[in-house]
């Protein structure tokens, strides 16, 4: 059974009435069929705005950093990827487990607006897209169209390994079977097999386009520093000029700062207005860490020591050459 909007509204109502949390983080519809954005629900009359549809991609857990400064307890809906982000924040000691009430939502993947528009070809007339089993049902002015959902998912959902939330207080629907996914290191291996010059051209081409808007950093659950190095101006580590060297510095430093902590949710790449394949950069580091220190899945267990956050006295690789 899939979670329904009514179920979300019902559980949210119980939460408010029972004073189980002061704030509920969910999603609400925007003006367009492809817009479902974060909703902040504190009053009963706001409950009706809640939605759950194939566009509820935004990870709500990142708002905890700010909201928990004012609230004692926050309830939120978490998909599989969002639950990994919760573990990220727990392990980084940004939040306490008792401060959050987690309603788990098994998720078969979110829809890609552009792919649906390309298929339907009448973008001005799409009214609504909803999921029914393995299909997206597209309501247009000219009737319904049924699409095989697996062909119209966001790219990041195509390699989803955790469709079911790994941490929650209550699961709002039955766990779904994991489905076959695209191998996530495919494009990394392809890059590894290219020459140094090819790789440099590839990345410099992408970083040349960077706007330095910081959407990638601001949406990242692993970017939870109280003050980011990129915002420090005494000294100013990252120059404000939008030139290749500064842009490369920005992205390589960010990749290293989240190395071993990146949960591979792909939000950085999704929100990038310039379509820079940032997830590939993070996946290269995940792959390297797996090869160096053994397989590790950040965000799956907040108690497990992190490869770059722990040490062993009998570490076979010593710091000195002797």
């Amino acid at each position: 059974m899939k979670p329904t909007v009514d179920k979300l509204k019902e559980i949210a109502a119980e939460t408010l009435v029972g004073k189980k949390a002061e704030l509920i983080l969910g999603w609400q519809k925007g003006s367009f069929w492809w817009q479902s954005f974060p909703a902040f629900i504190e009053k009963q009359e706001e409950l009706d705005s809640l939605t759950w549809d194939p566009f509820c991609v935004a990870n709500l857990s990142i708002y905890l950093l700010e909201e928990l400064k004012r609230k004692k307890k926050v309830a939120l809906f978490v998909k599989g990827c969002d639950a990994l982000a919760i573990n990220r924040l727990l392990q980084d000691k940004c939040i306490e487990r008792e401060q959050v009430l987690l309603y788990g939502l098994p998720c078969k993947g979110m829809a890609d607006r552009a792919k649906i528009e390309a298929a339907v070809g009448e973008e001005l007339s799409i009214r609504e897209v909803r999921r029914d089993g393995d299909e997206f049902i597209v309501l247009t002015d000219n009737g319904e169209q049924h699409l095989d959902a697996s062909n119209y998912l966001l790219d990041k959902c195509l390699s989803c390994r955790y469709p079911n939330p790994i941490v929650y207080d209550q699961l709002l629907a039955q766990e779904i079977d994991t489905f076959p996914v695209k191998e996530r290191f495919q494009s990394v291996v392809k890059l590894e097999n290219s020459t140094f010059e090819e790789r440099y051209l590839y990345w410099s081409g992408h970083f040349n386009r960077c706007l330095r808007c910081f959407a990638c950093r601001n949406v990242c659950p692993a970017c939870n520093c109280r003050e980011c190095i990129f915002d420090q101006n005494e000294p100013r580590w990252l120059g404000k000029a939008n030139i290749l060297s500064e842009n490369q510095f920005c992205h390589l430093i960010r990749a290293y700062h989240v190395a071993g902590r990146c949960i591979d949710c792909g939000e950085c790449q999704r929100v990038c207005p310039m379509d820079i394949p940032l997830q590939e950069l993070n996946r290269k580091l995940i792959k390297d860490l797996n090869e160096l220190y053994g397989d590790y899945d950040a965000g799956t267990d907040p108690e497990e020591p992190q490869p770059l956050g722990t040490f062993k006295l009998d570490d076979p690789a010593s710091f000195s050459e002797s």
């Binding site: 925007g30 367009f32 954005f37 935004a58 706007l211 000029a241 939008n242």
Partner: protein, 342 residues
């Protein structure tokens, strides 16, 4: 009116590029932007809006304007002036209006000499829209997607050919320079008008109405609504950097040893550092004040100074804001609605 067959476009680019810098909407891997044209580039004149608005040609994201060196008898300065003339081809009517709104700011006293020089030396060829996007709303701000008053040359896409209408002396001299490629198009005037009329009719209204919104906002500085908008804002600079009317900048020095550069670069009111003062005080301490500033600037402050809303309805914030805190959402929530929905 003159026309050019589309198969002659590459010839046109070569001809123009011989005599001037030529900026065209180029596909750089999924993202179309105005770049200096070179042979072999994939020009995309069907893309509706470039990802980065063409304001970046006149108001560059990073612009070095002073070089300095320390010598025995003191600091030596060298001014860097913008490159010479250019042709900017394919500017959509909304983006042209965006440039004109920037003119109000940069060309009033004290004039911004860097901006002015580029503006005077550039010939703008505007391109009317044929198929507006569902997130377009230019007509809300009285912009006609089938016209571009103030452009030097107006181009209309008739499918197999572009029809050009000169609207200034610069436009006329450009047509003369490319005359060998052109044919007479007086007979096409009806077809051109029809394309332009259809474009205007195709822009969705979204049920929005901004009549009186500027005045309404005069008393909304302390309205609780700002306390709800900002909560979902990620504080990134996507909306401001992609906005054709945002024009804030910072000035920075880059000094290494005895040499240095002074440059200006885009800045964003979404960033905490934007109003951070040397004392450590920040008059916009949280995202609430920053989001309020962005929308009041567009819909209240700028209109008070220049008698025009500082939004051209291009829809970039609608398409690109990661959390949909965009102009349509905000105008609706502020009450700028007549009826219905999108």
């Amino acid at each position: 009116m003159k026309k050019l067959k589309k198969e002659k476009l590459t010839e046109l680019w070569s001809l123009l590029a011989e005599r001037t810098s030529l900026y065209l909407p180029v596909d750089e891997g999924g993202s179309v932007n105005f770049l200096p044209w070179e042979k072999g580039m994939e020009v995309d004149l069907d893309a509706l809006n470039s990802t980065i608005p063409p304001k970046s040609i006149f108001f560059q994201q990073t612009e070095v304007y002073l070089q300095y060196t320390t010598e025995e008898d003191g600091l030596k300065f060298e001014e860097i002036t913008p490159q010479g003339p250019a042709v900017l081809f394919g500017v959509r009517p909304c983006d042209l209006k965006g440039i004109q709104l920037l003119d109000n700011v940069f060309l009033q006293e004290p004039e911004d000499s860097l901006y002015k020089q580029r503006r005077l030396e550039t010939t703008i060829v505007a391109l009317t829209c044929t198929k507006p996007d569902s997130s377009c709303f230019c007509t809300l701000f009285d912009i006609d997607p089938g016209a571009a008053p103030g452009a030097d040359l107006l181009a209309t896409d008739l499918g197999e050919e572009f029809v050009f209408t000169a609207q200034s002396e610069k436009g006329e001299s450009l047509l003369e320079a490319i005359a060998t490629l052109l044919e007479d198009a007086e007979a096409d005037s009806k077809a051109v008008e029809e394309v332009r009329r259809q474009a205007k009719a195709a822009v969705p209204t979204h049920g929005l109405d901004v009549e009186g919104l500027k005045e309404k906002l005069d008393s909304m500085f302390d309205d609780p609504i700002w306390g709800t908008f900002y909560r979902r804002c990620l504080g990134c600079g996507t909306c401001t950097y992609l906005c054709p009317t945002c024009h804030c900048f910072d000035i920075q020095d880059h000094t290494r040893g005895e040499e240095g550069l002074r440059f200006r670069c885009w800045d964003s009111c979404m960033f905490g550092e934007f109003t951070l003062m040397a004392s450590g005080h920040n008059p916009r301490p949280t995202q609430k004040e920053r989001v309020r500033n962005r929308f009041l600037h567009k819909l209240n402050y700028y209109p008070k100074n220049f008698e025009s809303y500082a939004c051209v309805g291009c829809g970039r914030c609608v398409r690109k804001c990661p959390v949909n805190l965009d102009m349509i959402e905000v105008i609706k929530a502020l009450g700028g609605v007549t009826s219905g929905s999108c």
